[in-house]
């Protein structure tokens, strides 16, 4: 906790969990998709489903999916903006398997046909957790530069990724591993203290056994 966890953030109201958190979920999801949005199915769970409409939760998620930050004053008009950009939207409800009261499942499709399914939760105070990507547990916040490596569950991938980061003087803050089954599909979530250079990401992408690499750095996005 620091001073600016108490004072701030600057956000569009009315609720840090139902509005700011929802916009952030959309924003991080857009970064994970890596391409402009074509189509989104938004399924709201728990309190998001119950009081989401009054809190503009749906509008905030859609705004985030178009790259708007939680303080973007266009959030209330996000549906109209999405419509003008030809984005197809559907909003519904779902009972998700999560311990959190505020959660949603986003089924996304990009303009280039890339699809991504994300389950995320709003934890309060505008903080979020990406709980699942394509059905695999992830649990990360997007607060740090985050590298997500999808790979085959075989020896050596953690060493390859961590040594690549070490070469670039990138310090690892947290490292989590998930897999669907032994020898199956694995996901590595690496949160770091420094921005990861593109050359390192490209290097990891070309390693044998690595299926997909996604990298997000929200602080850097904000500056850009």
């Amino acid at each position: 906790m620091n001073i600016f966890d108490i004072m701030g953030p600057i956000m569009v109201g009315p609720s840090s969990s139902h509005t700011a958190g929802a916009a952030r979920i959309g924003y991080v999801s857009r970064q994970l998709l890596g391409e402009d949005l074509k189509k989104a199915e938004i399924l709201l769970h728990g309190s998001f489903a119950k009081t989401g409409k009054g809190h503009g939760t749906d509008k905030a998620i859609v705004a985030g999916l178009m790259g708007m930050m939680p303080d973007d004053e266009r959030i209330p008009d996000s549906f109209d903006i999405a419509k003008s950009q030809g984005i197809e939207l559907s909003v519904g409800e779902a009972l998700l398997k999560t311990e959190y009261a505020n959660a949603c499942l986003l089924n996304l499709e990009s303009v280039n046909g890339r699809s991504l399914s994300i389950m995320a939760a709003s934890l309060g105070g505008g903080r979020i957790s990406i709980e699942q990507i394509d059905g695999i547990d992830t649990h990360f916040s997007g607060d740090y530069p985050t590298l997500i490596v999808h790979n085959l569950d075989q020896p050596g991938h953690v060493a390859e990724v961590t040594s690549t980061l070490a070469h670039k003087s990138v310090n690892i803050a947290t490292l989590n591993l998930y897999r669907d089954k032994r020898g199956g599909y694995a996901v590595m979530i690496v949160e770091t203290d420094q921005d990861i250079p593109e050359t390192a990401i490209k290097w990891i992408e070309h390693l044998e056994g690595v299926i997909k690499v996604t990298y997000i750095n929200i602080e850097k996005q904000k500056e850009a």
């Binding site: 620091n2 600057i10 109201g13």
Partner: protein, 310 residues
């Protein structure tokens, strides 16, 4: 590292400007940035607070239809000669309503410390700021009687002084968050409006030349006044009673600071008041902690605004 007590925060400091310098330096150190960068970041929050008042639109209604337009109504009432309170309190009421209504109507605000309590600190600071600007002559450092307060302290510009007060308020808020809570779901409304009011009281006492002791008594007195406040939002929306409670929190901050500036003290030390708030929060029934299953939300009228169940 977060401040864990008011005693630790003050730590034998007698000069409030030195205390604030320390808070800024700690933040910079913790996040690996310069003091200037930290200060610029806080300045952005202050500017956003000012904008949240200036961008108020009295014609807006919230999504739920429960709120909007009250600040305009009050301003019109005052403009037409209505009301009994003085200008400072009147402007406090207006500004608290403006920010809180803007929040309900999906406009940009600063969570301070939360969105539900976003009107309290801006109302107190912006009202004081506007009064000072309108009548700078009345702000004379020579009037300061306390020998512990250095005359050099007033070399800051008014804007810088306000930004510095935000650090003080935030550090106090950090102690409240650590020892008790600043989430309605954990501690009820006392944790949101109560915490905001306490933080605002400290800032207000500081901006009116209070010394550290007086500032902390202001914080203690204002939090004490709101202990036990339930979080029972009608329909689950951050609107009823939240918006008008921002007015209460702002006014309470000013009256508490006024008491403290006169040398009136809280019999219970600030840390112990905060601990009491935490204890009350834990003992509070879950129906009164932001679940909208008790209190105002469950009154016959309140029930009408509950979202439809399937």
């Amino acid at each position: 590292m977060a401040y864990t007590s008011i005693v630790e925060l003050i730590d034998n400091c007698t000069d409030v400007e030195e205390l604030i310098d320390r808070i800024i330096a700690n933040d910079a150190n913790e996040r690996g940035i310069s003091c200037e960068a930290s200060f610029e970041q806080m300045k952005v929050l202050w500017e956003a607070m000012l904008a949240s008042v200036n961008n108020y639109d009295g014609s807006l209604k919230s999504n739920s239809g429960l709120s909007g337009g009250d600040a305009k109504k009050y301003e019109d009432f005052r403009r037409n000669g209505g009301g009994v309170v003085g200008d400072l309190l009147a402007n406090l009421i207006t500004n608290a309503l403006k920010v809180s209504e803007s929040n309900a109507c999906m406009k940009r605000i600063v969570a301070a410390p939360t969105a539900g309590s976003c009107g309290v600190i801006p109302a107190v600071l912006i009202t004081l700021y506007n009064h000072r600007k309108a009548n700078l002559a009345s702000f004379q450092p020579s009037l300061i009687k306390d020998e512990n307060v250095s005359k050099d302290d007033y070399n800051f510009t008014l804007d810088d002084k306000i930004v510095r007060s935000l650090y003080l308020a935030a550090a106090v808020g950090e102690v409240i968050a650590y020892r008790a809570s600043i989430a309605g779901a954990e501690g009820g409304c006392q944790a949101e409006i109560g915490a905001a009011s306490s933080m605002a009281a400290c800032a207000f006492a500081y901006l009116n030349a209070g010394n550290i002791k007086q500032i902390m008594h202001a914080g203690a007195l204002s939090l004490k006044a709101l202990l036990g406040l339930a979080c029972d939002p009608v329909g689950g929306y951050v609107e009823v009673p939240c918006i008008k409670r921002n007015v209460t929190g702002a006014a309470n901050a000013v009256t508490s600071a006024e008491l403290a500036l006169a040398g009136i003290e809280s019999r219970i030390p600030f840390d112990e008041v905060i601990d009491a708030m935490g204890e009350i929060g834990r003992k509070m029934d879950i129906s009164l902690r932001e679940t909208s299953t008790g209190g105002l939300a469950m009154t016959p009228t309140g029930r009408q605004y509950l979202p439809k169940q399937d």
